[in-house]
Symmetry: C2
Subunit: 517 residues, 2 copies
């Protein structure tokens, strides 16, 4: 297992690193899959209009008029407006999806709930693929190359700016639609869920409530143990099979040992069907670890194409493959049989290219090196990884070397809170649903307990990463259908409260029966 | 009466304008008086230690490490820590005054309540003269000249940055004092009151409550009528004497007419004992209007030296002077007799220098030209001024001409809300006291009604600008003593709630009897 610093140095040495492209060892949120095909699982079946909004690069300072005229002071932010949702018109609800660090295929796969629920509330859908600046098409400075050029051009890629983007866009949109009285409900999953929750906390006047799905807003500093993420990944594997868990746990040393043997890297490359010979066994470790993390995030009870085309309960499938090899199969051959489920479920991959990271590099690495510092360790007992303790100095050093930027590890909690969140939000928050699936390793940083009557935690013991937001399918288990209904019922309550208080012109068309189940 | 644009153009023409120094017609908040002497009214009797905190110039972006090393990325923010307050120690309360657009004399005159109340709660006082960046000694770029050089250097003079300053400073301070469990109570008056309220709204995890005194957080866009400020000024004069009100109302035309006569400006200059001959009668109108506005703000029932050395009930004194002149005294001579109370109560001024603006020019003008756009008009019926309708285009044009910056008139309500504040704060706010004195023209933009059980409006019909915060004096009327006690009782309740919930180590030393009355 390669530690972050080692991995970074290795990547530097082998020259794989364009200026702003490298990977931190901490896990990322799921990211869009270039291979995902629209149309599967309902993905991409939604109709929308693409619009652009002239957004300010820096909401928190004031450029001179001369500088303001420069193209760099603004960028075109893409947003999508749903079609055919049967919006009630001005005064009717607006469902607003807070865009993530992702691109269009991802948002579509991610947001079925919003599309499917909107007609029941006669809500306008405003969407939000690449609404987060610096992602998708919403590039400052005119192009991704320019936006990602250096720390100067990346300086405005922050959550605070993104939230202000949402506030300005929504305010302007409502004014243009003469819909100032329209209640806005926010949706978001993963990092987008964090943004939805923070949006509600920082801009309660902009939206009446937020569904924050799988939003690890507590994964900062020492609020939750730094080991929790990988412990939960490990739990997911142990839950399926202790022998599977133990095989993985044993594999790291074998992998390292074999890597150190003569021709070991060649052997490893053959065992794992790699296209190119490994330069270091750590590269392979990272590839495997990455698969386990993503598998835990998308351990859905139904087939999905969210990250990779995957069967239902993919971890179970991985473990079956690991466990069911004939006696005498080596640990590493078992491991290969397992990850094959993740990287090659369709069976179409001839060899694996470790440098071909389908999740891409990008803005999140910068964000992790600036404000989104989420400490990650491997625990000694519970995890299936070799022990590792998060080491902030070397983390910071990596960031300085690769991005020329120094992280501010305490900024997020200063800006958004997190410590004592129960006490803070009990009196000072309302209308937030925190959904978490306990199979999802990000649930370790989530809000898992009700905070007040209207700041609600919905927890699905068998759910994975924002499963609630995914498009409904005929195979959805009952608990999933039921929890989506619970969420919509709560949202319906927010809207009733709002309209009951005389906030708008229209009554929502609520609870016409479930169209999502 | 000169309209903003005319005044600006005039000032340009006569060449009085250094680059970043000019005056918008909209009234300013009271500002420190170089003539104020510490030691009067208890002012300056408080002991404190001056400290400095290395503060980030821009909280919302990330400079490269190279740029970060430059001095410009940080500045030294001054803050004051009270001495001898008998702080209970780590876990004990911290009273934090949110600094204004002002300097040290002002804060001291402004904050008696905080100093006097702190010992009752065994609270640490953290104070905050020039804690607002770009004021007092807290200058980015090393000097006021450099900080105020142009729109580039002024770009970071915003309320959002100031709030983040407070959050970072408080978080760091508590950590250094091992006082993470200490509840923070915010205080602020005027613009500082707006910051205190916004701080509570945006950073509820940093402080448990806020006393926002005379904070016109609704004085934006169309939330309150743009005429309300000058209507309230006018009401204050009419309340004392209808003939006084009418004399002032008549004076503008006489002043203009006389200014247009041959030798009229010379005559006016003599009537008003000016050191130099007027260049335009508008200059005199502004001087008079400014006096009326400030008089209304500081129309205290006790003598004060807050803006100028003034008697108790100064508007009454002004009106007595205006009304009591012998028959045959001209309108303008009466006006002179009146404003003499304001500009020369001590009788030591030989002649008046209109260019010697004791309130100084400075950051607030920039703030008014960027985010703090408070529309101001003169009404036709109720006011004692000639009708004038706020004209945003010319306002913006002035800002572009003088600062090279374009205002964002809707940004404050986008960022902080304001529309429908009752509805927003009812569910989404707690522990704020909004104090307003109804004689204070800024009360027109204040929160005057209770919003919830813990977002409380305290209104003093006979109070002026943040009179509650002023140091107690033996002459304070009973209602003032009583309302200060009400405020402290509410704050005491916040602290009890906090400690009752097991939030800290110490019990506050509360209600040992009133030391401020």
């Amino acid at each position: 297992m390669m530690h972050p610093l080692r991995r970074f140095l290795f990547l530097l040495l082998v020259g794989l690193l364009p200026a702003a492209v490298w990977s931190l060892a901490p896990p990322r949120f799921p990211r869009p899959q270039p291979r995902s095909r629209p149309g599967v699982n309902g993905v991409g079946d939604y109709e929308y209009e693409t619009r652009y909004f002239r957004q300010r690069l820096d909401h928190f300072s004031f450029p001179g008029v001369g500088d303001e005229d420069e193209a760099a002071a603004f960028f075109q932010q893409r947003y999508l407006v749903g079609r055919g949702g049967g919006w009630a018109g001005p005064g009717g609800p607006i469902f607003f999806y807070c865009g993530n660090e992702g691109d269009i295929a991802w948002f579509a796969a991610n947001s079925g709930l919003v599309w499917e629920a909107a007609p029941r509330f006669a809500a306008l859908i405003v969407f939000a693929e690449a609404i987060h600046r610096y992602y998708g098409e919403s590039m400052p400075f005119g192009s991704k190359a320019k936006a990602y050029n250096d720390s100067k051009s990346l300086a405005y890629l922050t959550a605070e700016q993104a939230l202000a983007d949402f506030a300005v866009l929504l305010t302007d949109l409502k004014r243009n639609l003469t819909a100032e009285g329209s209640p806005v409900v926010l949706f978001g999953g993963s990092y987008g869920g964090m943004l939805a929750a923070w949006m509600r906390l920082k801009y309660p006047h902009i939206a009446i409530g937020a569904l924050a799905s799988s939003a690890p807003i507590l994964q900062f500093e020492d609020i939750v143990p730094s080991t929790i993420f990988y412990d939960l990944v490990s739990d997911d594997f142990r839950r399926e099979s202790l022998s599977c868990f133990l095989t993985i746990k044993d594999s790291w040393k074998e992998l390292d040992d074999q890597g150190n043997e003569q021709d070991g890297l060649l052997k490893l490359s053959k065992t794992f069907h790699l296209c190119q010979t490994l330069k270091t066994s750590g590269d392979l470790s990272d590839w495997l670890s990455s698969a386990y993390s993503y598998l835990a995030m998308v351990d859905y009870p139904i087939p999905s194409e969210f990250l990779m085309p995957l069967p239902a309960n993919p971890i179970k499938e991985v473990c079956i493959n690991i466990d069911s090899q004939p006696e005498g199969t080596s640990t590493l051959e078992r491991i290969y049989a397992g990850v094959n489920v993740y990287y090659n479920y369709t069976g179409t991959v001839g060899c694996f290219d470790l440098t071909d990271d389908p999740h891409g590099m990008g803005g999140w690495d910068w964000q992790a090196c600036t404000e989104m510092v989420m400490p990650m360790s491997y625990s000694e007992g519970r995890s299936m990884y070799p022990p590792y303790k998060f080491d902030y100095p070397s983390y910071a050093e990596d960031c300085i070397k690769s991005y020329g930027v120094r992280p501010r590890p305490r900024w997020i909690t200063t800006e958004f809170g997190g410590h004592n969140i129960t006490k803070v939000l009990e009196k000072f928050g309302s209308n937030i649903i925190f959904f978490n699936g306990l199979l999802d390793p990000w649930s370790g940083g989530g809000v898992l307990k009700n905070i007040s009557e209207s700041v609600i935690a919905i927890v699905a013991p068998l759910g994975a990463h924002h499963i609630d937001l995914r498009p409904a399918t005929p195979d959805d288990p009952d608990w999933l259908v039921a929890l989506r209904e619970s969420e919509l019922k709560i949202i319906s309550g927010w809207l009733s409260d709002y309209y009951g208080a005389g906030g708008a012109l229209f009554q929502p068309v609520a609870d016409k029966g479930s169209s999502s189940s």
